[in-house]
Amino acid sequence: MIKGNFIDNLPRVYGIYTGGFLAFIIIMAICEQMGMTAKTIGICFVAFTVAIYAIIGYLSRTAQADAYYVAGRQVPTVFNGMATAADWMSGASFVAMAGGIYFKGYGYMALLVGWTGGYVLVASLLAPYLRKFGCYTVPDFIGTRYGGNLARLLAVIVLTVASFTYVTAQINATGTIASVALDIPFQYAVYVGLVSILLCSMLGGMRGVTWTQVAQYIVLIIAYLLPVFWISNKMGAGFFPHFMLADEVARIADLESQFGLGTVKNTAADLATVPKGLAGITKAHSAVNATPWAFISLALAMMMGTASLPHVMMRYFTTPSVKAARKSVGWSLFFIFLLYSSAPMLATLSKLSLIDPNLATGIIGKSISEVQSIDWYQNWNQANLMFVSDFNGNGTLELNEFFMGGKAVVLATPEIAGLPYVISGLVAAGGMAAAMSTADGLILAIANALSHDLYYKIIDPKAETAKRLVVARVLLVVIGFAGATIAAMEIQGILGSVIWAFDFAMSGLFFPLVLGVWWKRANREGAIAGMALGLISGTAYLIWVRNGGSGFLGITQLTFGIFGSAVSLVSMVVVSLITSAPDAATQKMVDEVRVPAGKSILGKQH
């Protein structure tokens, strides 16, 4: 199936796959009608989809460096767009984003703007040039453009710090979903998730990851959009929610003032009784609730981080040409847009169905005991994602007495809106696909950088292909287990560590990458200073603020990359200018990178 003219057959292969998946959903729906339990449906969904990914991973096995590192550079633009979208949209995007919008409104939506706007920077500043360069990994570019092992090593370090921070969150997310769907303890579920992840990437490297990511995108987008459209239609909110929810958004604003949002405050003693991780609605849904700088700084940090994250950048190394790399960025963002533009709609539908007393599902204004006897409330209360308490003792549930976990918006809304359980199973499979695909890309990015840049380029340049690929696979497993072990300790929430990863990446890599293409005068010394000082100062700022430091210029622990990258830029420019210009060969190399036609800088096998 993967041989011969597989590339020409791609639309047909994935068309059949999509049809098969839809048929599977229908079969599950029929099984539910015939009395299959919710638990069995959940297991079927997760097991079936993971098995498919594993088969694709097996069929994509390879023994060639070119295929292992960059999928043979023959992935068509549209399919690379889907793979990038899956690579990009993590457990955080899928499970936590709608919840963040639900609770924090406008201030949180800076992430939507930041996580999409960054692709403009990717398309215009970096992706086509790095594709022309012909590198296997991001440190490969840094190492060749600036020359020397130290620059390459620093790039590997920044990449590892950023990607590892990110990957623990993704393994954590696969573990959470696997533990709920398969009903096993989280500590074991994490390793179930890890094995699923490794099945996709170990045999085929980038080739395996590419074709599983396309499959995972199809699952996750169906799993996200189907409930949004269904709930919207069921509520009578509109056939096409994206264009038709204006009345609902306005209605929420009315209800907010009616219920005294922001005027009725809970006491600290009352809040102490709320289980950890749950939050009430305290911010306006659609109104502007953040200062311009708070919004812009977060969006800017995410945009620059997007352009520095190696697992995204390396997806554009797999396209057939420079031209294709540019278009592929557009397709990536289009496929991401489909989900991101739906998240605020899901948050709106979810919030309205919970708080509107005119709807059958609304719980605000009902008596506490009535709410506590609802089936779904009991389920999600047990899962520690929902909580009500009669703070003012009037026996009625008020807006400030209802608490929910961020994940519940995606996971529980189908059940609240009265959709069949098959949809909840589908959502679990979608969340699993989102977290797995991102984890795969990240683990591969780290393992490839360590095997190609550290082992092959620095430690043993004479190693044969077979040995290099064995090292790459061993590293893949080791990094996966290290990530899973840390994930099992549950140190930090999913979203927090994702945002940190962006800040780490932009602190160390944004300017060394961009200036490597756009500023010929940038030299090795400058790049080394930029990467080292950027990462160190960003990390120092994070530690300072985490330990009670006040910070400055309104830069928080979520946007510390703005400080790190500013230090990186200044030190890179200053050090470059006080040291000698790059030699003629390097200058010529930069000239060639800037022209799409002609041979790539690094050969096919390097």
Partner: protein, 86 residues
């Protein structure tokens, strides 16, 4: 000026235009988030809200495709375009 220098000058010009549009819709308009709030936007949403959940995102998608086409034209003009595959 050599062909290559001219090509790069045009490429840089396109970059500046692209980044200017990007700047307006990712940063510029959000300086006035509170001011735009009372203005009605497409489909009846408040304008600021619409930009954060659809407007800016959609504009970025279109911007990248527009940029890719323009850059391709520049490459073709100087004969630097790759032959064959897409």
């Amino acid at each position: 000026m050599s062909k290559q220098a001219q090509h790069w000058e045009k490429t840089r010009g396109l970059l500046m235009i692209t980044l200017a549009i990007w700047f307006v819709f990712s940063i510029g308009i959000f300086l006035f988030g509170a001011e735009m709030e009372s203005v009605g936007g497409p489909f009846g949403y408040p304008l600021t809200y619409w930009f954060t959940c659809q407007g800016s995102l959609g504009i970025f998608v279109i911007l990248i495709f527009w940029f890719a086409n323009r850059q391709e034209k520049i490459d073709e003009e100087f004969g630097f375009s790759e032959k064959g595959d897409d």
